[in-house]
């Protein structure tokens, strides 16, 4: 069965993309979940669409357009909510919509039909070119490196930002760096599930992992495993029944999320009796 699937190069690439992106997703998703910055991450992801439009307009690989654009979005949203007296959700909402608007305008300016645009919005893991695989691998290594170097600082600001500040940490700079890593993770995940659904894969595996973890590193490892599992199962379903791959992965993850919660509720009720 698996053998049959792996005979196709595009399936091998798809599987590799799913596994590689799960690494970034599990590590950064853990921070997103414990620091409760899912909405910010969603904002960064959607703002990134502006970068895709820009890349498309300039005729370069959209990945190259989306990296600087999403990093800019991360820093801007972070600064606006921390420094300017703007309510965080207003800042996020504004960037969210303006980013998408810039993307739409850029695409409209370029004559002709944008065929693979849909795949950036909703993901199409079956068309991942080898160049993108290398890119994902590079971003993975970068994310692992930064998190390894700064794990104690990231733990401190995730747990209690004010205490971290009292301890002498440059919390704003660290927070912005964390948002930048989220932006890079969004770029990594874009190919797999698309920017509209990134937020689900960023949070669901980590949210489930959190229920069974005692430490942050443990949670990361479990989240990576779950993300890989959901991606592989989703990919298999999409291959079997010819479904959209990104959406199937999300539905699989979401179902797992509900099932785990339902199971926990049930066992809690049974225990109480």
């Amino acid at each position: 069965m698996l053998h049959e699937i792996l005979a196709y190069e595009f399936m091998r690439n798809a599987l590799l993309a799913a596994l590689l992106s799960s690494v970034a997703c599990g590590i950064i998703g853990t921070y997103v979940v414990v620091k409760k910055i899912g909405f910010i991450s969603g904002g960064i992801a959607h703002t990134a669409f502006g970068g895709i439009g820009l890349g498309y307009y300039l005729g370069i690989n959209p990945l190259l357009g989306v990296i600087p654009f999403s990093l800019f979005a991360a820093v801007a949203i972070g600064l606006m909510s921390k420094k300017a007296k703007v309510a965080e959700d207003s800042a996020i909402g504004t960037f969210w919509a303006v980013g998408m608007a810039v993307g739409v305008i850029c695409i409209g300016l370029k004559p002709g039909y944008a065929p693979d645009l849909f795949s950036y919005l909703f993901g199409n893991i079956l068309t991942v070119p080898t160049f993108d695989l290398w890119m994902i691998l590079l971003l993975d290594l970068f994310i692992i490196g930064v998190v390894w170097l700064l794990n104690k600082e990231f733990l401190a600001i995730s747990f209690d930002e004010e205490y971290a500040r009292v301890s002498g940490l440059k919390t704003t700079a660290l927070y912005l760096l964390m948002l930048c890593l989220i932006a890079l993770t969004v770029v990594v995940m874009m190919r797999v599930v698309g920017i509209v659904m990134v937020i689900a894969l960023l949070t669901i595996p980590a949210a489930i992992a959190r229920m069974f973890s005692r430490t942050l590193p443990g949670m990361m490892v479990l989240a990576i495993a779950l993300s890989s599992l959901f991606s592989i199962i989703g990919l298999w379903f999409s291959y079997q029944w010819d479904l959209a791959s990104g959406a199937t992965i999300i539905v699989v993850s979401g179902s797992a999320f509900f099932l785990v919660h339902a199971w926990r509720q049930l066992t809690a009720v049974l225990k109480a009796q």
Binding site: L149, F159, E161, A164, S167, G168, R214
Partner: protein, 252 residues
């Protein structure tokens, strides 16, 4: 005479147009155990936040260890009152306490053996050895409070700032927290913000009452009932505090 550890001169602070602190003058010297009492909204937490460098004063000056607030994070241990963090955070007491070492570490530096030893020492002082591997979510309010004190102690501070360490915990636990403080005041300078007006007088060397303006009592004697009632604007009953030897502090 040695320079004071904390020196506030004519310190005033406006927050959102409201005067929260008004011309507060206060000095805390090496070895002091200062208890600050006062009603909610009286500025107790804000005063601590100014000393920590989290709020800048609108007027007046603050020096901590002779420098601007926030200059010497490693010399200060802070036990916050409001629990900003999430009780479900996947972290054990040991790791929580280890975080108290961060003010002694450089960026990128990982915790080493010495940090872990210091953290374990602080865990012992707080009497939490048997709970060290527990997730913080599994602790009672009093245990968590002691874990936060342990976190502050892990950094080897000279000055300990505690914000309502006995709020929202049961009376028996309060006693163990105060006994812990009694033990710590031998080595540390302590500033304690609290509601327990009756209890603290047994422990502190000086008391100050803060309700936007600050009144200092240069002795351990508690402010009497009349002045307390005036401070709180309602009758105050001193609570009788039973002396009790805590098991948690008896180490072999």
């Amino acid at each position: 005479m040695k320079d004071p550890i904390i020196q506030c001169d004519q310190l005033s602070l406006l927050l959102g147009g409201m005067k929260v602190l008004d011309k507060v003058t206060l000095s805390v010297h090496d070895g002091d155990f200062l208890g600050i009492i006062g009603p909610n909204g009286g500025g107790k937490t804000t005063l601590l936040r100014v000393i920590l460098g989290l709020e800048a004063p609108s007027a007046g000056s603050v020096r901590v260890f002779g420098g601007a607030p926030g200059s010497f994070p490693a010399r200060i241990g802070y036990v916050p009152q409001r629990l900003f963090f999430d009780r479900d955070f996947p972290i054990s007491i040991r790791e929580l306490v280890l975080m108290g070492r961060i003010s002694n570490k450089k960026l990128f530096q990982h915790y080493n053996k010495r940090d872990r030893e210091k953290a374990d020492e602080a865990i012992c002082t707080a009497g939490l050895e048997r709970l060290a591997e527990r997730r913080i979510g599994d602790l009672s309010g009093g245990e968590l409070q002691r874990a936060l004190i342990a976190r502050a102690l892990a950094g080897d501070p000279e000055l300990l700032l505690l914000d309502e360490p006995t709020a929202s915990i049961d009376p028996q636990m309060k006693t163990t927290i105060y006994d812990l403080m009694e033990h710590l005041k031998e080595k540390l300078t302590i500033v304690l913000v609290t509601h327990d007006t009756g209890t603290i007088s047994r422990y502190v060397t000086r008391t100050a009452s803060l309700n936007v303006t600050l009144e200092l009592y240069e002795s351990a004697l508690s402010p009497n009932r009349e002045s307390l009632s005036a401070l709180y604007h309602y009758p105050v009953n001193p609570v009788v505090h039973h002396s009790q030897v805590s098991r948690t502090l008896d180490h072999p």
